[in-house]
């Protein structure tokens, strides 16, 4: 496990097995995914614990993450399988906690789970009952 951006959050998991292209497919105002071919089509990433494999596409997508946060439609935290610089810098700009986890841990996540994230703790991600 790697902590890319520190912080605390508590909320509901929204999981995607598809990577996310922030520049092209996330609405800056609402946080809704607009790509019809995406697993999260029409769902909003607002106030979720967003779990996805990694970001893809232009590095300018980092600005999109910042905009979504400025419009109060950003996830509370992001959890990825692979570190990519677009999501890393986007979360850094927007101050959204970002944790990178291994494949087994990624498989164990499901949409709807309640989790608590505290990057300073010895167990940074805990499932809540």
């Amino acid at each position: 496990m790697k902590i890319l951006v520190k912080g605390k959050a508590r909320g509901t998991v929204l999981k995607s097995n598809d990577p996310i292209n922030f520049l092209g497919t996330v609405d800056k105002k609402t946080g809704i995914i607009s790509d019809k071919h995406h697993e999260l089509y029409n769902k909003s990433i607002k106030d979720t614990i967003l779990v996805f494999p990694s970001g893809v596409g232009s590095s300018v997508g980092a600005y999109t993450i910042y905009s979504v946060k400025s419009n109060e439609s950003a996830p509370l935290a992001m959890v990825c399988q692979k570190a990519d610089l677009t999501v890393a810098t986007g979360c850094a700009l927007a101050n959204i906690p970002l944790v990178i986890i291994n494949d087994d841990k990624f498989q164990s996540f499901q949409t709807g789970q309640q989790v608590s994230i505290d990057t300073e703790s010895s167990d940074p991600i805990t499932l809540l009952e």
């Binding site: 902590i3 590095s59 300018v60 980092a62 600005y63 910042y66 570190a83 850094a92 700009l93």
Partner: protein
């Protein structure tokens, strides 16, 4: 990643919000690339200047942070979307002009040198061998590592901006020692600058962080820049090591077949409606050479030439710009073929160029056809 007490304090926000954000970017980038620490850098070169690429989100971000953010080291800037002296001649809409001027203003407020150039290595003094810099423009990062004895990773607009504000960068990959695991063997005879551009484009697809390259003789500046521009366009690779490399390296040939594949990918048209030269922008040496080659000739169609403002001013003093304008060239500063809003598919079907980097963006961003030709061929076919 190990941070000093000072860096920890900045990351906690004890030195203000801007430094906190800059350190968050450096730490996130450093953790993602397995850096062990941050090291000082002496020069940052920023991308993310053209409104065409960063859009409203970028413009708003820069406008907001420029109230407080100031750069700590020498910081230079990539091209923007237009030539500030020529804005009204190109039919740009008011929104584009307003937003582009706001971006320009934000960078200047932060203390950035408004160079609007993608060839910082040609228009500024190069620091001493081994100096760590932070270059976000890909062709410039590759040129700095391969030809100027500087050290940089292929930075993003954000990591380079964070480096400019803090004077630091994560110590990872090419900043440490690098040993490429691939050697590209150049097999094409009588290469010109277009061949080198295609070789670079091929190398960028094959390599990861860096590649060895063998079978290369003397290259003029035009060819060196073409090689770097081509590589920066196609992948993440940011350095050429000239020579055979370690005997255990995987060997990949670049021969006529591989060259043809690159050509087929980027050359989509038999002829162009206009010609562009300069992606990367032309330096004084290339302007001088072009002026001599065009002696007594003139273009049969529009020819746009892109160069940094400082180069244009020098060329004016020597008398090159008069000669080039006589030959039918339009000389533009502050912007570049690459990602220019000045070439629009409503007006232009295809563009003739000798630049692989230019070709890639004309095709994929401007959506126009591309006709690739080396400079000598362009002059032979398109002038009288």
């Amino acid at each position: 990643m190990e941070l000093t007490k000072e860096e920890e304090s900045a990351l906690k926000g004890e030195q203000g919000e801007i430094l906190q954000m800059a350190y968050r970017i450096l730490v996130a980038t450093g953790e993602a690339t397995d850096a062990e620490k941050l090291i000082p850098i002496e020069w940052a070169h920023l991308s993310g200047v053209n409104y065409n690429t960063i859009g409203d989100a970028g413009e708003e971000f820069l406008s907001k942070i420029s109230k407080d953010a100031r750069v700590k080291v020498r910081t230079t800037l990539n091209p923007m979307g237009f030539d500030i002296d020529n804005v009204s001649n190109y039919g740009l809409d008011d929104n584009f002009i307003t937003k582009q001027l706001s971006i320009k203003n934000s960078y200047e407020t932060m203390g950035v040198t408004p160079s609007f150039s993608c060839i910082p290595y040609e228009i500024f003094d190069i620091p001493k061998e081994g100096t760590q810099v932070s270059f976000a423009e890909s062709n410039a990062a590759i040129h700095a590592n391969s030809f100027d004895n500087l050290k940089t990773n292929k930075e993003s607009a954000f990591s380079a901006l964070a480096s400019a504000i803090t004077g630091k960068s994560p110590y990872s990959s090419l900043r440490k020692d690098d040993t490429p695991n691939v050697t590209i063997r150049m097999k094409v005879d009588n290469p010109n600058e277009l061949t080198y551009g295609m070789l670079g484009f091929f190398a960028g697809k094959v390599g990861d962080n860096s590649v060895n390259i063998s079978g290369i003789g003397e290259m003029d500046r035009r060819s060196c820049k073409a090689l770097c521009g081509g590589m920066g366009t196609s992948g993440t690779c940011a350095k050429f090591n000239f020579g055979d490399g370690d005997p255990g390296c995987e060997k990949v040939d670049f021969d006529n077949k591989e060259m043809q594949n690159v050509h087929d990918e980027l050359n989509t048209s038999e002829k162009g409606d206009l010609i562009t030269l300069g992606s990367p922008q032309l330096g004084l040496e290339e302007i001088s050479d072009l002026t001599h080659k065009l002696k007594g000739r003139s273009f049969k169609k529009r020819c746009m030439i892109f160069c940094p403002r400082t180069v244009k001013e020098q060329a004016q003093k020597i008398g090159y710009t008069n000669e080039l304008e006589r030959a039918g060239c339009e000389i533009l500063s502050d912007c570049c073929t690459c990602l220019t809003p000045l070439i629009n598919k409503d007006d232009v079907d295809a563009v003739t160029t000798n630049s692989i980097k230019g070709a890639f963006y004309l095709k994929n961003s401007n959506g126009v056809g591309v006709n690739l030709k080396p400079l000598l061929q362009i002059i032979e076919d398109e002038t009288r």
